[in-house]
Subunit: 502 residues, 2 copies
C-alpha cells in the first residue's frame, strides 16, 4: 500500500491529482466523443442530490420548470450582438437531417437544412422568442421559469466536469415589469446559490458583481459566486445575470403596463452546472481521494459487515440490518439518512479503500468481536483513514445525525480557514505582481485570492493578463473601504477579488 | 358560453380536438424550430410527476442513473446493421463546430468536423461502447443503468407530444451474463411500465411481444404496452427490448465467466417518453378539456375563495388556508396532497373554466354563504362541469383522499370499459377487412382493437398495410387459445391485437 491512495498527491501534481480523484471515485470519464464526458452512476447521484436541493429552492421562491428546444436557429443567435460574439466561436452546428449511403459505402450527411441550427450553448434567444409571444400585459408578469437541460459549448481542452463540450445545468430565465424587480430576482438567486454552496457543499464562496469584461455576453450585470480550490485558484461556481432590456429589445419582449402603455420587459438569467461537481471535488478531497460533505453525499453512512464463518455472517448481517433500520428511523421519510450495507463479496481492505476513495462520510464496521463487546468501529472520512473509534452500538443511531452535522461543519470550517490563509490584501501594483509571479504561483496554495482596489478599466486587464489573473468579482458581503485603483489611481468604492481561475 | 369548452369536440374532429385540449390546458406548443416543442410549466409538471414515480420504481429494482453524451459518431451508428437502417433516415447531423461571419454579413458554419456527429436518436451504440470498456468479468454484471435525456429523431409531420423531433425520455440499458437474466429484466421493466400506466395514469394497457416487422432496429424481441385512445387507435406507450447478443457482438461487450472463458453479454434497452403525456391526454380528456387522474395531477385539489368585500375576502381566505393546512396534514410529507389556493385577481367564471380545462381532479369553492353554512362546494372533474355537491367543511379534509382514490379508480374503469366495448374478436380475413374499411373507420371509436390469430409473416402485413392497420402486440395476459392465421392459415399459439395506431 502506498502512503496515499491517490497518486500523484495534490502537492506533486495538482491537475493530475484531480483527474485521479475523479477516476478513483468513479465519478466520470471521457467518452469517445471529443470533449463529451460520461457521468457515471456515482457522479450522477451527486448531481441528482444537487438538482433536488436547488429545485426545491427554486420552487419555494415561485419558479416553475419548463423545457425549451435543444436547437436554436442561427438567425436567433444573431439578434443580440454581444451574445453571438460570445457564443459563435464554440457551438455545434446541425446542417443536415439525415444520413445517406455514399457510393464508397460510408454514411454521409444528406437532407441539407435551409437554415443551420445551433445546439444551444445557452437559451436566452429561444426562450426570449417564446416570452415575446406569451407576455402581453403586466398581468402576465413576472414570468419565473427554470429549465434543467444539457448545453454544448465546443471545448478544445476539455477537463472532466470543469470544462466539457456538453454539460448539464439549470438555466433560469425570468421577465419582470421593472428594473428593480429584475435586479431583486438576480440577487435572490445569487443568494440561493451562495447558501447552497455553503450549507450543502460546505464550500465557502464570495459573491458579487463581475467587472464588465467578465460579464455574460449581452448582460448589464453579471454576479457570481467564487470559490477557492486547494491550488489557490478561483472557480466560478454559479452566475446570475441582470440582462436589463437588452434581450427584451432585441426580441420584442413587451407588455402593456397598468396604464395601457407599452414597455419592454426587464429580464434575468442564471445558472449552475455539473461544474459544481468539479468544485466540490477540488474543495474537500485529499490525497486519499474524494471527501463528500454529508449533506450532498449519496451515501452518508456505509456499514461493512465483517465475518469469516457462515455463523458469523448471519449474526453480523442481522446486526447490520438492525442498525440500518435504526438509522432510518432517526429521521422522517423525506429526509432519511442515506445508509448502505456493503455485502459485496470482495477483499475487506479493497472495500474499505473503495469507500475512502468514494468519499463516504462515515464508515461503520461491525465484526463478531465488536458485537460481543456491544460496539461498532467508526471511521470518519474527514479524519486520517486509519483513525477509528469504538462507539456503543446501542447509542450509535441516535448519535449519527450529530456526527454527520459535525463533519459537515468541520469541512466548511477547514475550507474557510484554507481560503482565509490564502487571501491577502494588496495595496500596490508591485505587490500584486509579486504575488502572482510565475515561479511562486506554481506552488500549490500560492497565489490565492488577492483583495485590491481596482477600477473597471482595460488598464487593469493589461496588468493582469500577463499574470494570467482576472478580477473575479467585487465582494458584496463584509466591510470594506473606498480607495484608489492600484493600477489607474481612479477612485473605487470597494476592493475586488483577483485570482487565477479555472 | 358554447356548450363545451373545447371546440371542435372529439366527435367533430378528433385530431384538432387533441391540439385544442393541449393548448387549452397550457401543456405545450410548437416552437419556431421545426418539429421541436416547448413543454410549458403545466405540461412539464406532469412529466416531473411521471419521472418521479418511474425513477423510484427503477431504483427500487436496482437501477442507477448515469449520463452519456448527446453526440454519437456516425461510425458508431454503423456498427449494428439494422440499427443504422432504422435511424439514419431521420437524424440531426452536426458537421461543424463554430460559426463565422461571411462576407455578406451572415453567419455560416465553419470548423468542419473530421467525422460528423449524430444527435442521439437513442443511445445503444454510445452506451455499448462504454460497457465494452467497463465490463471485464462476471463480477461486473449485471450492469443496470438508466438515463433521463433528450433525443432527436427528425420528423416531417410533428404533433405535440405524440411525434416531435426532440423529445424527453428515459432509456434503460442493461447487460447480463445470461440470456435468461436479460429476458427477465426485459419483462420486469415491461411490468413496471404496465403498472405505472394502469395504477398512476389510469390507462389500461395490453402488454406483449411485437411481430418482427415492428421490432426495435437491432432487437431480438420488442415488447410493448399498447393503450387505446378515444378514437379507437392504439398508442404504443412504452417498449422494452431484449437485444440478445446483437449489440454485444457488434460492440465487443464481453466478460470472463466463472470458468475464465470469454463470452458476449446479453443486453436490454427500454424506454418511455413525453409521448406518455399525449397518451394521458387522449385517454381521459373530454369536450371540456384535460382530465387528469389524481395520482399524476400536479395539483389534485384547487381551492377557490369567493368574495366581494374586503371583509369577506379576509374571512374566506383564512378558511381556505385552514382547509389547505388540514388537507396537508392528512398525509406525511413525502406523499402530501397537492393543494393550491387560487387567489388570482380574475373573473370567477374564467378561473373555474381554466381549472376545468387544465384537468384539476377536485375543485373546492368557499364563499361567505358556504362558510356560514359550514360547507364547501365541491366539483369533480370526472363529472359534468356544472355538477356540484355541498360537503361539510369540517369533514372534507378527511374525506378528500378517498374522493381522489374514487376518481382515480373511476377513470381507469371508464377507460377499460371504453376499450372493452371497442375490442372485437375476428376469425376471418373478411371480417378484419370489414372492421377497418375506410368509411366505417373514419368515425371515432370505430376500428378499435381487433383480436385475431395472425402469423408473423409478410403476408399479414400485405393485407394490413392497405387498411393502415398494424399488429400491435401479442397479449401476454389473459386466457387465449391456439388457432390458425386468418390470412396464411399457419398455426398460431395466441391471438394478436391489430389496430390503427399513432
Amino acid at each position: 500500500m502506498p502512503e496515499h491512495a491517490i497518486s500523484p498527491t495534490r502537492r506533486e501534481d495538482y491537475p493530475e491529482w484531480y483527474q485521479q480523484v475523479v477516476r478513483a471515485a468513479d465519478l466520470a470519464e471521457q467518452s469517445p466523443v471529443r470533449g463529451c464526458m460520461v457521468i457515471k452512476p456515482h457522479g450522477y447521484a451527486i448531481w441528482e442530490r444537487m438538482q433536488g436541493i436547488l429545485d426545491r429552492a427554486f420552487k419555494a421562491t415561485g419558479h416553475q420548470n419548463a423545457y425549451f428546444p435543444l436547437f436554436i436557429p442561427v438567425s436567433y443567435l444573431e439578434q443580440e450582438a454581444k451574445h453571438v460574439e460570445g457564443f459563435a466561436k464554440e457551438c455545434a452546428v446541425v446542417t443536415h437531417h439525415r444520413l445517406e449511403l455514399a457510393p464508397d459505402g460510408r454514411l454521409v450527411p444528406a437532407g441539407k437544412l435551409e437554415e443551420p441550427l445551433v445546439v444551444r450553448p445557452t437559451s436566452e434567444t429561444i426562450i426570449g422568442a417564446m416570452y415575446a409571444k406569451w407576455i402581453q400585459s403586466w398581468r402576465d408578469l413576472p414570468v419565473l421559469i427554470n429549465q434543467w437541460a444539457n448545453v454544448v459549448r465546443w471545448e478544445m481542452r476539455p477537463r472532466l466536469f470543469l470544462r466539457t463540450a456538453e454539460f448539464l445545468w439549470q438555466e433560469g430565465h425570468t421577465a419582470h415589469a421593472t428594473a428593480a424587480e429584475a435586479v431583486e430576482e438576480t440577487l435572490r438567486i445569487l443568494d440561493i446559490y451562495a447558501a447552497f454552496a455553503e450549507e450543502h457543499l460546505a464550500m465557502p464562496v464570495v459573491k458579487g458583481p463581475k467587472p464588465s469584461a467578465e460579464r455574460f455576453p449581452g448582460a448589464v450585470d453579471t454576479y457570481s459566486i467564487e470559490a477557492m480550490m486547494q491550488d489557490g485558484r478561483a472557480l466560478q461556481a454559479g452566475t446570475s445575470h441582470f440582462l436589463g432590456q437588452n434581450f427584451a429589445r432585441a426580441q420584442g419582449i413587451k407588455f402593456a403596463d397598468t396604464t395601457g402603455a407599452e414597455a419592454f420587459c426587464w429580464t434575468t438569467s442564471w445558472g449552475v452546472s455539473t461544474r459544481l461537481i468539479g468544485a466540490l471535488v477540488m474543495t474537500h478531497s485529499d490525497d486519499d481521494g474524494l471527501v463528500l460533505p454529508p449533506r450532498i453525499a449519496p451515501t452518508q453512512i456505509v456499514i461493512l459487515p465483517i465475518h469469516r464463518t457462515p455463523e458469523e455472517r448471519a449474526q453480523v448481517l442481522a446486526a447490520s440490518r438492525q442498525l440500518e433500520a435504526r438509522l432510518h428511523a432517526e429521521r422522517s421519510a423525506d429526509e432519511q439518512l442515506r445508509v448502505r450495507i456493503d455485502t459485496r463479496d470482495m477483499r475487506g481492505g479493497d472495500k474499505v479503500w473503495q469507500h475512502v476513495k468514494q468519499g463516504v462520510p462515515l464508515r461503520v464496521e461491525i465484526g463478531p468481536r465488536d458485537l460481543a463487546a456491544g460496539v461498532v468501529s467508526v471511521c470518519r472520512r474527514d479524519r486520517p483513514p486509519k483513525e477509528r473509534v469504538s462507539l456503543p452500538l446501542d447509542g450509535f443511531a441516535a448519535q449519527a445525525p450529530a456526527l454527520l452535522a459535525e463533519i459537515q461543519q468541520g469541512l466548511f470550517e477547514r475550507a474557510a480557514a484554507f481560503r482565509a490563509a490564502r487571501t491577502v490584501t494588496v495595496d500596490s501594483q508591485a505587490d500584486l505582481v509579486a504575488r502572482f509571479r510565475e515561479d511562486g504561483a506554481a506552488e500549490a496554495g500560492q497565489g490565492g485570492f488577492v483583495r485590491a482596489h481596482v477600477a473597471d478599466d482595460p488598464a487593469v486587464a493589461a496588468v493582469c493578463d500577463p499574470l494570467k489573473v482576472t478580477v473575479r468579482c467585487i465582494p458584496m458581503d463584509g466591510d470594506d473601504e473606498p480607495g484608489r485603483c492600484i493600477i489607474t489611481g481612479q477612485p473605487v468604492a470597494r476592493r475586488s477579488i483577483l485570482a487565477r481561475a479555472y
